[in-house]
Symmetry: C2
Subunit: 445 residues, 2 copies
């Protein structure tokens, strides 16, 4: 089985195109990216249209970019995959910690009767208890088993939350640049996305958020540490956001939710701390996964945690469990639920990612790139020296460097580098980054 | 970890209530069951309503039945779980075959680098190839890797299919009695359910199906072997259904899909064969899982197979992969994809289920129950001797026998017995079934 291709090893163009990670996210970009440049949809009349029109439109939006990334694949075929520096996907290169491998071996050696059967839709009681204990310790709040719902990764969890709370036309506010899959998730439950620009350093712009909250607002969805910027929203901004939401909830006489996508919560670098949103707003719902902290993205194991201070918390949890079931997830994978339960305080070596961040950040700065220093996750989001980020990404491509244009995250004029890759990939790409910088006369600027 | 509760061992009433299986399905029943008997929803004005109205309505529908099943749990507490005969859930009691356990141990002993990473959203190439080979061998059709999309179980697969093909208001026809979760799945993608009664022996009523197909019809969804009836649609009826769909597609000048939910496809008893729908209609999409054949329901591993004869098959597959990603499944669990790949021809011992079927069917007949002999799955769906199936199910409850009223499957006047249980549960329940039959003077009828 050792010949099996994981994402880093994919070869065919189709595998590339339809392979993306929740976070690494190539496709979200592809799908939205063609906007305005879409190939004209060949209208053959609704009657013969075999797939959903909505989906067809989304797929058509991808065709322009498809060619571009096929070029990337061609590069790999021309020069060999090892000579192409692929920073396009967020597919963690680190292996799960030894504790995870040990737990898997123990379970395989001594299988437990019934361990692959259905369990309650919310997950095993033992796993939820272990997570609740961890959350209670972290926050000082009275988390119990019932506040935790095990999910098929954070992407599954987000869909579950949105289904549970949204009615047709409800709005969800998202700070931008943002992970573009969010738009699809919100649309899946009939909601509408409202984007709010962040500040220049990618911190929350609370004034803009305040202006955007209205009678149709149901929730604000923040992602910290952030994909694509690596920003971590600090305690001060969470405090202020909490105050704003409390005030607006009173004014609008409705419950506004704060949804925190904390898929990268453990990947936070020295000198930075991820504030605990539960402490600043009672109607907080956290969604996270073990894709990054335990490097298990392909296994689809995550959870939702609802603040014990939420009004009508039992009803909300019932709604989440209902959504988990009826969206077809049914439950999070059984085996993984067992494995992650005792590993709530474990993680891969964050320092490894930090070293990559330092190498890349310092080098890009030295080459003259304008870039905000990421405080977490494994992305960096520099400014392109020209408006046209797609053209700039093509320049990098000519140096066999694959990145994603900022347009794919709602922020043209930037580009995203995912550095969850081997150090040698970063080292190999530095000369190319420098040459392109020189081309635009950036060095020393 | 041996104290972990699987479904059969659940104890608390809430665990019972919110624990159900895709197939075993208690909640689908609960949710719909209260229709007309719903507790009045306490309207506090939309403004303060914290969860989705749609979900709230569904949850409120469950409250009536919640009490009833809590009574079942009380029975277990009163008499001990071992003295309560629980036929309410479809949670396979058989362990996975030894080949599965061996494969898991081999992988845990010698982990493969990157084996928990993301892979293409459609799944590992190797797994899809193995399944395509199996399908090609079975059908004689040119199945290739690209025709297979790995999914988070059959429930996940169904949601993916419906998302890929439905636009707002499109209709999906379902023969009834039926698995009630289907209604939610269809609604998730904006579709509408059209029910069509089956014949008295639960075979397809093609005339009724023909009458129901109209301009808004997009697909017919059949489930064979069937939950809740155990019926298997024979070759003749599949042939006729294929002809009907071809004719209607021409008349309506649109593509109609045949979706076959074959979650129980391997559980078919001596003398019966499951026809291969791909042979009778080109626009066939099969969805199935390894929940039953390999007894892995909690692991959420299944797949979609699209007929190679489908028009515009590549576009349909792109739509499926897109839906798999954006609904938040992202990909089927990585580890399980590896394990099931070489086990496409393996399964649990079907004969074990057949023995249970025989014991139950013969006994119920002898007691005077009117019942159609199931040809597959692990359900039997006898007629209740009175119109009020809920009252009858309560009669059985008084003998410490837990079943599900037919109302929960769109067919009042019947009740469902799930016999994926230990033989001793069946044996223990027989006197109770007999006593209730005697109460209604059924014996010897």
């Amino acid at each position: 089985m050792s010949g099996w291709k994981a994402m880093g090893d994919r070869t065919g163009p189709m595998a590339f195109l339809f392979s993306q990670s929740h976070r690494g996210n190539l496709m979200a970009f592809s799908v939205f990216f063609g906007e305005g440049q879409r190939e004209k949809i060949k209208e053959r009349g609704n009657e013969r249209m075999a797939i959903s029109k909505k989906v067809k439109n989304a797929l058509n939006g991808a065709s322009w970019v498809r060619r571009m990334f096929e070029e990337g694949e061609e590069l790999k075929q021309l020069y060999g995959a090892e000579n192409v520096f692929d920073f396009s996907l967020g597919n963690p290169n680190l292996e799960p910690p030894p504790s995870l491998k040990k737990a898997l071996k123990a379970l395989a050696d001594q299988p437990i009767l019934g361990m692959h059967r259905y369990m309650p839709n919310s997950g095993y009681s033992e796993t939820r208890k272990a997570i609740a204990e961890y959350l209670a310790e972290e926050s000082g709040l009275p988390f119990e088993e019932k506040h935790v719902v095990m999910t098929v990764g954070a992407a599954g969890g987000l869909n579950v939350i949105l289904k549970a709370i949204l009615d047709e036309g409800d709005q969800v506010i998202i700070p931008s640049p943002y992970f573009m899959e969010f738009k699809f998730y919100i649309d899946n439950s009939g909601g509408e996305t409202r984007l709010v620009e962040t500040n220049d350093d990618f911190s929350l712009n609370l004034k803009e958020i305040e202006k955007t909250i209205g009678t149709r607002t149901k929730a604000i969805l923040i992602n910290s540490p952030n994909n694509p910027t690596g920003a971590v929203y600090d305690q001060k901004s969470l405090e202020k956001l909490g105050e704003l939401l409390k005030r607006k909830s009173r004014e609008l006489r409705k419950t506004l939710y704060l949804i925190t996508d904390e898929a990268y919560r453990r990947i936070v670098y020295a000198g930075t701390e991820l504030p605990i949103s539960f402490l600043y707003y009672p109607h907080s719902i956290r969604v996270t996964s073990h894709s990054k902290d335990l490097s298990l993205p392909g296994e689809r194991i995550g959870y939702i945690a609802v603040s014990p201070q939420c009004e009508e918390v039992d009803e909300l949890i019932s709604a989440l469990v209902f959504a988990n079931r009826t969206l077809g997830f049914v439950n999070a994978p059984a085996l993984m639920q067992r494995l992650v339960a005792p590993l709530q305080r474990n993680s891969v070596k964050i320092r490894d990612y930090e070293e990559k961040r330092d190498l890349l950040y310092n080098s890009l700065r030295a080459f003259g790139y304008q870039v905000v220093k990421p405080q977490g996750a494994f992305y960096i989001f520099p400014k392109a020296p020209i408006e046209d980020d797609v053209a700039f990404v093509k320049d990098l491509q000519s140096k066999r460097i694959l990145t994603v244009p900022g347009t794919g995250f709602g922020k043209p004029g930037h580009f995203r580098i995912s550095y969850a890759v081997e150090n040698k990939v970063i080292e190999g790409a530095l000369p190319g980054f420098k040459e392109v910088a020189e081309k635009y006369g950036m060095v020393g600027k």
